[in-house]
C-alpha cells in the first residue's frame, strides 16, 4: 500500500482483526455483484469504499425513476442508462483504487460460470428465484463463496453459502424450489431502508470472508422482520436429497 492508501483505509487498518494484512487481502480481492438494484447498491458502495480491489457488476436493466427510491448507487440524471454503467461511474468516483468491470447482460449459462469462476466471492442481489438457483449452482461448481440477500416489503434475509467448507448448505438446501412462492418488489413493494440494511449486512459478511476475520454467517440464515425490528439467526442443515452436493451426503 502507498501512503494515500494507508491514510484512506486507516480506520480499518487500526482494527486488530483487519490490520495491514487484512486490508491487503481486500485490495487483492475480486467480487462479482449480480444485480445492481436495492441490494447491489449498498454492497458495491461499501465494498468499494472499504478497498476491495476489483468489482464486477452484472445487470441487464436500465435505471428507471421507480428505482431511485432505494437503489442508491444511481442518480436522477442517470435514468435510462445501463445500471452497471451508472453504478460504475459512482464507484470510480468514490474510490479510484477499485477496478470496476461491467457486464451489461442477463448473466446466465457459460457467461455466469466464467464470471463466478474468476471471482473470489459472489454477491447475490437479484430479484428472481431462477437466477438465485443458477448463481448458487455456479458458485458450488466453482468453489466460490456466495453471500445471498433478499428483501421485500418489510422483511429481509441474508445467508452465506461456502462451498469451500465440506458441510456448508447451499441455497437449494434452504429452499429446494421456490418458484411457487415468487414475490418481487415491483408487485409487493419494499421499504427503502430495508434494502440498505440487508445489503449492508451482505457487504459486512463479504468483508469478513475476504479479509479472513470474525465468524461469517456460514450455515445460517439471518432473517429480519423490520416492522418489529426483530432478527432471527437460524441454523441451516445440508439437505440429504440436495442435488448440488449428493456425493458428500
Amino acid at each position: 500500500m502507498n501512503d494515500e492508501q494507508l491514510l484512506r483505509y486507516s480506520r480499518q487498518i487500526m482494527l486488530p482483526q483487519i490490520d495491514v494484512a487484512g486490508q491487503e487481502r481486500l485490495l487483492a480481492a475480486s467480487v462479482l455483484v449480480v444485480g445492481m438494484g436495492g441490494l447491489g447498491s449498498p454492497v458495491a458502495l461499501y465494498l468499494a469504499a472499504s478497498g476491495v480491489g476489483r468489482l464486477v457488476l452484472a445487470d441487464h436493466d436500465r435505471v428507471e425513476i421507480s428505482n431511485l427510491q432505494r437503489q442508491i448507487v444511481h442518480d436522477h440524471d442517470q435514468v435510462g442508462e445501463a445500471k452497471v454503467a451508472s453504478a460504475a461511474a459512482r464507484i470510480r468516483a468514490l474510490n479510484p483504487d477499485t477496478r470496476v468491470d461491467t457486464l451489461d447482460l442477463r448473466l446466465e449459462g457459460e457467461a455466469l460460470d466464467r464470471a463466478v469462476a474468476s471471482a473470489d466471492l459472489v454477491i447475490d442481489g437479484t430479484d428472481n428465484f431462477a437466477t438465485r438457483y443458477a448463481i448458487n449452482d455456479a458458485c458450488f461448481a466453482a468453489g466460490v463463496p456466495l453471500v445471498s440477500g433478499a428483501a421485500i416489503r418489510l422483511e429481509g434475509q441474508v445467508a452465506v453459502f461456502d462451498p469451500r467448507k465440506p458441510e456448508s448448505p447451499c441455497y437449494r438446501c434452504l429452499y429446494p424450489a421456490a418458484h411457487e412462492g415468487e414475490l418481487n418488489c415491483a408487485e409487493n413493494g419494499v421499504a427503502a431502508p430495508l434494502v440498505g440494511i440487508i445489503g449492508t449486512v451482505q457487504a459486512m459478511e463479504a468483508m469478513k470472508l475476504l479479509a479472513g476475520i470474525g465468524e461469517p454467517l456460514r450455515g445460517y440464515v439471518l432473517y429480519l422482520d423490520a416492522a418489529a425490528m426483530e432478527w432471527h439467526k437460524l441454523k441451516l442443515k445440508r439437505r440429504r436429497d440436495c442435488t448440488i452436493h449428493p456425493a458428500s451426503n
Binding site: G35, G37, G38, L39, G40, D124, G125, T126, D127, N128, F129, R132, G149, A150, A151, I152, R153, L154, E155, G156, Q157, L174, Y175, P176, A177, A178, H179, E180, G181, E182, L183, N184, C185, N188, V190, V195, Y223, D225, A227, H232, K233, L234, K235, L236, K237, R239
Partner: protein, 89 residues
C-alpha cells in the same frame, strides 16, 4: 406449549400472530395451527402433507430435517418459526 410464529409475508392469506399450541412433533404442532387457521394448510403443505419447497420451518432456531413427514421433535417450550423464500433485490 410450543410457540409458533410466522413470517409477516403470510399475512396476505392468514392471521399471522404468534400461537401457543400443543404437540410433540412438527406435524402435530402444524395440525393444531390448522385447526384455528385452516387456510394456512394449503400454503404451507402439499396435498401429500410435505412442506412446500418455498417454505422453511425452524425449531428452536434450527432448520427441520424431515420436510416430508414433519417428524422433527418439538418440546413444550420450543419456538417454531415459519418462513418463506424471498426473492426481491
Amino acid at each position: 406449549m410450543a410457540t409458533v410464529t410466522f413470517t409477516p409475508n403470510l399475512a396476505r392469506w392468514a392471521e399471522t400472530s404468534a400461537m401457543d399450541v400443543a404437540g410433540d412433533s412438527l406435524a402435530d404442532v402444524l395440525e393444531a395451527v390448522f385447526v384455528e387457521r385452516p387456510v394456512l394448510r394449503g400454503y404451507l403443505l402439499t396435498d401429500q402433507g410435505a412442506l412446500r419447497k418455498h417454505v422453511n420451518v425452524y425449531i428452536d432456531a434450527e432448520s427441520i430435517g424431515d420436510r416430508q413427514r414433519l417428524t422433527d421433535r418439538v418440546a413444550a417450550d420450543s419456538k417454531v418459526f415459519v418462513a418463506q423464500a424471498l426473492s426481491g433485490g
